[in-house]
C-alpha cells in the first residue's frame, strides 16, 4: 500500500533537525508537536517505568497530529490532519 501523501518525517541528530514531506507550515507544526509531546512523554515514561514512546495522537478541536517513532532514536514520522480519524485508523496509517 502507498504511504499517505501528507507524511512528514523528522530526523534529529547531533542537535540538527531534518524535516521532509508535507508543506512548510505543517512540517513546522509537526516538529513543534514532536518536541512538546517528546518532552512530556519522557517524564510520563519515567513515572510509568517504561522505556519509550512509540505512538502519539494529539487531537484538538481543529484536527489531529499523529506521531510515530522510528526504529532509530531521533527519527519520527507522522501527519497533521484536519480530519478526525479513529485511533485505530491512525495506527494503521502510521504502520504503512
Amino acid at each position: 500500500m502507498e504511504p499517505d501523501p501528507g507524511l512528514i518525517k523528522m530526523e534529529s541528530s547531533q542537535g540538527r533537525e531534518t524535516l521532509s514531506g508535507g508543506d512548510t507550515e505543517s512540517a513546522q507544526r509537526f516538529a513543534g508537536e514532536v518536541k512538546y509531546v517528546g518532552y512530556f512523554s519522557e517524564k510520563l515514561a519515567e513515572t510509568l517505568g517504561m522505556r519509550r514512546l512509540e505512538i502519539a495522537i494529539v487531537e484538538d478541536r481543529d484536527g489531529q497530529t499523529s506521531i510515530s517513532t522510528g526504529e532509530q532514536a531521533g527519527h519520527w514520522h507522522g501527519m497533521i490532519s484536519s480530519n478526525r480519524r479513529s485511533i485505530k485508523q491512525v495506527r494503521e496509517s502510521l504502520a504503512r
Binding site: V37, L44, G49, M50, R51, I55, I57, D60, S86
Partner: protein, 236 residues
C-alpha cells in the same frame, strides 16, 4: 453538589476490556483514582499531564484527547474544559471505545463537573459498602455508557467518510475553497460545531442541507440523486 454519580460512572469504565486503570481529575482535584500502582505515582502522573495540558491551554489549543502508546502500555487522556479522564490501557483495550465512553461520561456529568473545584480535595474514604455498590451498579452504568459510546463511534467515522463524498459531489459544481467555506458556513449557521456527534438521522439532514445550497435546480436535483446513493451506502 455530590460527585458520587460521576465517581460511579468513572469507576465503571475500569471494567472495559483492557483498561488497567482510570483516573478522573480537575486541576489538583483528583475525583476518582484507581490505578495499578501507588497513589504517589498516580499523582505524579496527574501532575505531568496537567502541565502538558496547561501548555496547550496557554497557546489556546482546545484539546479533545491525547493518546500516548509506550512500549509497555498506553495512556489515553480525554479532556473537556478542565476535566480530564485518564486511562491506563493494555494492548487488549479498544482505545476508541474507551475514548468514546469517556467522552459520553464527561458530557453526561458536565454540569456537576463544571462546579467541581480545581483545588486539592482529599479523596472520600471508601465506605464499607462501596465494593458491593460497585459490583451491583457498575455493569449497568458501563453498559449504558458503552452503548452510547458505540453510537458515537459509528457516527464519527460516518461523518468523516460522508463529508469526503459530499465534497466530491459538490466539487462538480463549485471550487474546493468555495465548497469548504460553504460547508463551514452551514455548520455554523445551524449550530453544529461538532458534526461527528450527530445521530445518523441528523447526519442525513445535514448532508441534504448541504446539497440544497446549490442554487441551480437542475444541478441540485442531479446531485441530490447522487447523494441518495451515497447515503444508502452509509446506511443513512
Amino acid at each position: 453538589m455530590s460527585l458520587n454519580s460521576v465517581i460511579t460512572s468513572a469507576a465503571s469504565l475500569q471494567r472495559l476490556d483492557g483498561v488497567a486503570g482510570v483516573m478522573l481529575f480537575k486541576g489538583r482535584n483528583t475525583i476518582h483514582r484507581q490505578m495499578p500502582f501507588s497513589d504517589m505515582r498516580a499523582e505524579n502522573l496527574r501532575e505531568i499531564i496537567n502541565q502538558m495540558l496547561d501548555g496547550y491551554r496557554q497557546v489556546r489549543r482546545n484539546m479533545r484527547q491525547v493518546f500516548l502508546e509506550f512500549d509497555g502500555g498506553s495512556l489515553l487522556i480525554v479532556t473537556q474544559e478542565d476535566v480530564v479522564m485518564l486511562f491506563f490501557l493494555t494492548s487488549r483495550a479498544d482505545s476508541d471505545l474507551a475514548a468514546s465512553a469517556a467522552s459520553v461520561m464527561l458530557n453526561d456529568h458536565a454540569k456537576v463537573l463544571s462546579q467541581a473545584s480545581t483545588e486539592f480535595q482529599p479523596l472520600a474514604p471508601v465506605a464499607s459498602n462501596a465494593v458491593e455498590e460497585l459490583v451491583v451498579t457498575s455493569p449497568r452504568a458501563l453498559q449504558q455508557i458503552t452503548e452510547k459510546a458505540e453510537l458515537i463511534s459509528g457516527t464519527n467515522s460516518n461523518w468523516w467518510a460522508l463529508r469526503k463524498h459530499i465534497e466530491g459531489i459538490l466539487g462538480k459544481v463549485m471550487g474546493r475553497a468555495q465548497l469548504t467555506m460553504m460547508i463551514d458556513r452551514v455548520l455554523a449557521k445551524r449550530g453544529t460545531p461538532d458534526p461527528y456527534r450527530l445521530s445518523p438521522a441528523d447526519t442525513r439532514k445535514l448532508a441534504i442541507e448541504l446539497i440544497e445550497q446549490v442554487p441551480n435546480t437542475t444541478k441540485r436535483q442531479a446531485l441530490m440523486s447522487e447523494l441518495e446513493a451515497v447515503l444508502a451506502d452509509h446506511k443513512l
